[in-house]
Subunit: 486 residues, 2 copies
């Protein structure tokens, strides 16, 4: 031990340049214009994995996996049938999985590592201080789309493996890597892919680094993720824009109808007003309330950091409870009619909203989507036509945190960061986690290294270089500790 | 008489080409990128007026007119003070007025003709069957932005004057022309311009052709226009877009706040819910109800023409009453957050709406704007900041229709179209009409030649070539009839 530490510090510049090259590829999975960049990112990654010393490196298509799940059991068939609805209505966008392994640590545990090389869109570009796909270092932070979510955190794993392989010539544990390209669009094809390749993916433990730490230099292990349901609302009125003077008063304005529909989705108290939305949602236990309340939280400081007059949300819950444990419904975008300079006195022909829900245990995305459809049907005014289309889904996940693999991870983190580990939940979603949990029966360790203020999906996303360094060391240490148990 | 008829028919092709050249200039007053085109349109028009045989042709700046109104009376000063608020908050956009006259009809009436050479934005361009600034004839209609509103109708006046001057060598009446470039942005500088140049603009009668006929080949005289108030609503939340997983539940989403504000502006019955909005608005008289009810109106046919499942609007009024006599509030555009392909799970940093009201007598735009400010203040939720900015204003206008000049216009229309004239109101606004009425004390004749289905502010705006021809003849005839009275 220790040799890898020196290797890491000697190769810091090389690693930084490799990481930057990875970040320069605009692998935006949701936009078809970036399909070529997605391929490029997958092959860049595969090439890099070979350089690290991993084996069986493959770029694998995820298309038609749903049709391919023929070898699976009846239980798996039933599980997969739940995904058919989710896939309806979405474009047949599939992006390859990059697989690699190193399996020579006989008698030692096998760790499956999951990550994703796709990123969120970078728009609005004008809010970035430096271009999103031109990584730039400022004040100890590397700025760029994907720096935290998730290319940076994948790279920490690859640096750790490279350091171990190049110095000791072997890894302390067996490793399998699955790095996908559809996470930011809800992993539509991955469940089928995983089940199709269940033999190849057998492991003792799943490790994911795609969450945040508690604060700068305060490591954390995440024990709960929210699920996701996203959908688009399209309101159609007249077949083309109408002069508001000429027709104002004669037809229902699609923007008014959309505003009414959006407004109908929340109560004045900030709760979600979709009928049945909270059915089956467990109240937070007293234990968990106390754990969460014990974590540092300062509403005034957060409000000031985010630039809002005050925080806001569902009554009866603290800010962390609302962010981690309670489900939400948020409009991600709205548009209709004239948006240019000055004015244009029209009744727009149509209006649109992109909406997503964060879900908690016992909220199945398909069931919630049906409730939303029913709600919209009930609230659609007579003069317009409304269409609602599901665009993504992922199940929520909560794990017990007393598993030995979790305890070892905590130990590795404490050694590398020289600070106590907090157990936290995350408001975000990693859609595939639930499939790993229920179909693979694997214990899952979520150790993330992003700053809570990293602005993962917004402009100026960044990664702390200090977290990068200490996190990589924590991972080397984690494999050592796990290997000693084996 | 009659010579001008032959002249018009001989010069039809030449006139059509000149009109098309005028339409090719994208004189969009609201967009600063078209400032050069606005200048070009003004000078094109001036050159054309010289060719027609008009005199004293001038392209006159409207900038700083508000400061120039020094020579006016105390009553005028007071009137102008009302415009200062309307001008605050708008860009200092001013576009020149084109003036011309012909004043050799001694002892005959002087007619002031008002029109505008600016047009509405053409977006969304993809909905145009032929490009908006490449005029094209299909099935007896000329398609192009401004073909009806208002370049086409200006051109009818110019053709009529040219035909009279080139054949008789004189006009039967004195003519003054004021053609402005700020109508589509609410004529912010024109009131001051008119009052500054009141001596130059002395006349016996104001004629405007900027309204529609009742139906194809059914001429109409308009006796009422709605006023206009336009404003922009800006909702600001967090200082940048936030990941909805990470912060969902912690802050108020600006799109939700905007939807709530927009939804709060109407009652479930389709009436405007701004407190005090209807104060002082007169109920429709029984007489007028009967006149309007006697006009052809078919709700099912209109709904089908517009492509909506059914018409919609304030309860207790017929469709024509809602379009002509009742005030409205319409969102012209809404935007905020992600609008691209696929999904982006963010809480948007801000959200915006462009809104305009059509006003009726006793609704002063400034008073209505104050009510809207108060309403928004009352309904703004705590977690966001809201700004409301007035962007345009114009007063409503209703005239008695028994004036001899109106009766002569009806006679000229009936002769040219060989059809009965209807007296109608219009839902649209010509902001400057009220200034002419109250400050110049002029009788106003609104004879418009657009099709009610011309789609003036939308895509595929068009003008009937048959209306163009008959309307030009009606104008020649009108000046003859007026001259015989003189």
């Amino acid at each position: 031990m220790g040799e890898w530490k020196q290797y890491l510090s000697e190769n810091q510049t090389k690693h930084l340049e490799q990481w930057k090259d990875f970040l320069r590829i605009p692998s935006v999975s949701t936009m078809s214009e970036h399909r070529g960049d997605m391929e490029r990112a997958a092959h860049f990654l595969a090439e890099h994995l070979r350089g690290v010393g991993l084996e069986h490196v493959r770029v694998m298509s995820t298309a038609q996996e749903l049709e391919n799940v023929r070898t699976s059991t009846a239980q798996q068939q039933e599980y997969m049938s739940g995904f058919e609805t989710s896939q309806q209505g979405r474009d047949s966008t599939s992006h390859p999985v990059v697989y690699a392994d190193w399996l020579h640590a006989q008698g030692r545990p096998t760790v499956l590592i999951y990550g994703h090389y796709d990123v969120q869109p970078a728009e609005p570009l004008e809010l970035w201080q430096s271009p999103p796909f031109e990584p730039e270092i400022r004040d100890g932070m590397l700025y760029g789309r994907g720096s935290s979510d998730n290319k940076g955190q994948i790279f920490m794993h690859l640096q750790a493996m490279e350091a171990l392989l190049k110095t000791a010539g072997e890894l302390p544990v067996n490793i399998k890597l699955v790095i996908e390209g559809e996470e930011e669009i809800g992993s539509p094809n991955l469940p089928a892919f995983l089940i199709s390749h269940q033999d190849m993916l057998q492991a003792d433990l799943l490790v994911i680094s795609d969450t945040a730490m508690l604060e700068a230099d305060q490591p954390a292990i995440c024990y709960g993720l929210r699920g996701l349901l996203s959908f688009q609302l399209d309101v159609d009125g007249p077949k083309q824009d109408l002069a508001s003077g000429f027709y104002g008063g004669a037809v229902h304005n699609p923007v008014h109808a959309l505003a009414q529909l959006v407004a109908s989705m929340h109560t004045p108290d900030g709760a979600v007003a979709i009928e049945g939305f909270y059915d089956g949602v467990n109240e937070i236990s007293e234990d968990e309330r106390q754990v969460i309340a014990s974590l540092p939280q300062d509403d005034a400081a957060l409000a000031s950091h985010l630039g809002v007059p005050q925080l806001y949300g569902e009554k009866g819950y603290t800010t962390l409870e609302r962010r981690w444990v309670r489900p939400t419904l948020e409009v991600n975008g709205i548009y209709g009619g004239y948006q240019g300079e000055g004015e244009k006195t029209i009744i727009p022909a149509d209006a649109h909203a992109k909406i997503s829900c964060r879900l908690v245990p016992n909220q199945h995305p398909d069931r919630i989507f049906s409730m939303i459809q029913a709600h919209i049907e009930r609230h659609t005014p007579p003069g317009v036509r409304v269409t609602v289309t599901q665009t993504g889904a992922g199940l929520p996940y909560v794990t017990p945190h007393d598993h030995p693999a979790v305890q070892l991870a905590a130990q590795a983190l404490e050694q590398a960061f020289e600070a106590q580990v907090s157990f936290i939940r995350a408001g975000g979603s990693i859609p595939i986690v639930e499939t790993f949990a229920t179909q693979f029966g694997l214990p899952i360790v979520l150790i993330g290294f992003a700053l809570p203020t990293a602005n993962a999906h917004g402009p100026n996303e960044h990664m702390s270089l200090s977290h990068m360094e200490k996190g990589t060391r924590a991972l080397c240490r984690y494999w050592e500790l796990l290997g000693q148990q084996g």
